[in-house]
Point group: C2
Chain length 403, copies 2
């Protein structure tokens, strides 16, 4: 596996075009719509938010994915098209229909994602014009700013691509994501789009995506708020020419799944690092749990603790907050067997504090990446999750925005 | 039921004495230890944190409560005596023994609670002296500063007392609590001590306490972090002379339970309002849920949302965040039936936004108490929970403290 440039454009056969519609900012001021075209009907898979409140594009895309095939993805930022009732569904359907018309395919081959303010009608006039604009520009060639066009409060575009070998052919997996900013700032909405030129059947693709998301996007948290719009799509157009991977097993499948997991993990960590107001990426590695699921539950409990996140922001080695969050997680732990390392320094043995050199720890905590290692010493379960610290800027971003 | 002054000293027969030991601040600078004496062996009950990591005084007090009887409670602030292993247990036992010796009762009649830094040995030399000092002063009469002596990052002492009629005798229920500051600031540790002169058997007292805590202290959250030390005690010394309430049923029991719930709810709301950095008390009333438990789960999901809490701090009427937190709660809801009122203004009907007058809403949100009403329209379940907003000061208190 080898890292390459180009994000979603790195795999063969994909084109990407963007528009500055003016959905929630003046027209032309920033890209807010993108069409990612597989160049032909592709195997497609998706995973979505498990929130009971689901945005219209989530409902629509789930329906369109039933065939396991899709041609293109259209994503807008600036408006989540959530809590908009039947008019919202009609708007999502129209977005799909407009892209489908431009590409001369059935509307069911178009996947839709939206991110932005909740509960405001989509401004369909500017979106219609934007989709037309994006499709016209497609004739002129690709536009590389896909990652930028789906940003909301993100501060940097997030892309990743890797090359892997599948049965003597080389295939590429590329992705873009937008993060863990809130939207406008109504919502933390995570959207990821992954493209690949690997030939892989829909069932195997869905299995690989589910596995990759389980170890990447489902292992990050910025503020514990799960969005109505969270969506990850993958389109596989087969342009690499490898023998089609038909089932979720075997060498080629494993290699593809690894590449997909690498891209998803890279994008997930970029989202965590760019969480609203974040100054640090925090990596929490839990081992010795009764199960991998228990390890993830405990890791997420620590990652979601406002006390842990503010302490890390303040370079404060208060390990008691970490043990406390382990203890209230809904997973088995024994306070008398926990070993904790912070920035490589062991702070507890058997759940009791060891002598702590405060200046050394404060210096270690000033780094931009903070490793937290928790060994429960109960079993073989392990998981790694990522979060960011919680700063004054987090409160500013989320409180001082004027709607 | 009628409100009276005096907190834990309002019921007959109780004495309260404090000391300035210097546990985590210079000796004499602030009260950090209190002994609350029932004047004789009293019915006693307690509820404790469900965190797997439990402080030594929690483990000890659970053991001492097995008889259902106790004479006195000793509480210190400045040190949580948590994650201290066997030496921590020995220290908790010594605290009980010292108070027991002074009162000439068995150590098993003394309940202990601690709040403060985690993972530091208790400074037993100053605590020994403080307990001696408090017990000597007891001979001189009561000291009314109980609530102050258990404060950590609390900004105001929290007390409440009410009088109720039980079978023609008048009884008083009084309480103190410390909140939802972190400790030093290692922990959010909630401690409450309730006294009453009602005559009530231990089993009925435990039942009434469990019911009251379920609707009060268990319905507040500041940051979602559950402490290793959370403790609520109640001591009932029978000095009111009412016929003893022997079982959790009947008129007198119901009146006592109501009074106890009133005191606990009042203290719980005071804790929420005084949450670290808080500028507002937020009251979330959920109705129309499938069950009371579902209503509480949904209320707590909204109350713990950093996005909801920062929005309220910023006077931002972004109801999408509230619906989002309803949707990801682990309880049944239907996005298409939710009616939401914020500060008395209906913002959604059937889960869809209604026209919103922004200046009116911003003005309403500048109040110091913010009611949020959520009607799920699915059943008869209801619950009310309380929280505070999340401000820059919250981050400051928890990040910028120098250990």
């Amino acid at each position: 596996m080898q890292t390459v440039d180009g994000g979603v454009l790195a795999p063969k056969g994909f084109t990407v075009n963007t528009a500055s519609c003016g959905i929630n900012s003046p027209k032309g001021s920033r890209k807010d719509l993108v069409v990612i075209d597989a160049g032909g009907t592709a195997s497609a898979a998706g995973v979505f938010t498990t929130n009971r409140v689901q945005a219209a594009p989530v409902v629509l895309s789930k329906d369109h994915l039933q065939t396991g095939m899709a041609r293109a993805v259209v994503v807008n930022s600036g408006n989540a098209n959530a809590c908009n009732g039947e008019p919202g569904m009609a708007d999502a359907r129209e977005m799909a229909a407009l892209v489908a018309e431009g590409l001369s395919v059935p509307a069911s081959e178009i996947l839709v994602a939206s991110t932005g303010v909740i509960g405001r009608p989509l401004p369909m006039d500017v979106i219609r014009e934007g989709i037309r604009e994006a499709l016209e520009r497609q004739a002129l060639g690709p536009d590389p700013d896909a990652a930028e066009s789906i940003m909301t409060t993100d501060t940097v575009p997030k892309t990743c691509a890797v090359r892997c070998d599948l049965d003597s052919k080389s295939a590429v997996v590329g992705g873009i994501a937008k993060g863990a900013g809130m939207i406008c700032p109504y919502m933390a909405t995570m959207i990821g789009v992954v493209t690949t030129d690997a030939a892989i059947a829909p069932g195997a693709l869905q299995a690989a995506l589910r596995r990759a998301v389980g170890k990447s996007f489902n292992c990050i948290t910025v503020d514990g708020d799960m969005s109505t719009n969270d969506t990850v799509f993958v389109l596989a157009n087969g342009a690499a020419g490898n023998p089609e991977i038909t089932r979720p097993e075997g060498d080629a499948y494993e290699r593809f799944a690894e590449a997909l997991e690498h891209v998803c993990t890279d994008l997930a960590k970029k989202i965590a690092r760019d969480g609203e107001g974040a100054t640090k990426l925090v990596e929490i590695r839990v081992r010795g749990a009764r199960s991998d699921e228990d390890a993830r539950t405990i890791g997420m409990s620590v990652a979601n603790s406002a006390l842990v996140k503010t302490a890390i922001y303040g370079h404060d080695p208060n390990w008691g907050r970490i043990l406390c969050a382990v203890g209230y997680a809904d997973a088995e732990s024994d306070p008398d067997t926990i070993d904790l390392l912070l920035c490589g320094h062991q702070l507890t043995r058997d759940g009791q504090g060891l002598p702590l050199d405060e200046p050394t720890m404060r210096k270690a905590l000033s780094a931009s990446e903070i490793p937290v290692e928790i060994d429960l010493r109960l079993g073989d379960g392990a998981a790694t999750v990522w979060t960011c610290d919680m700063s004054h800027e987090y409160v500013t971003v989320n409180a001082e925005y004027t709607t």
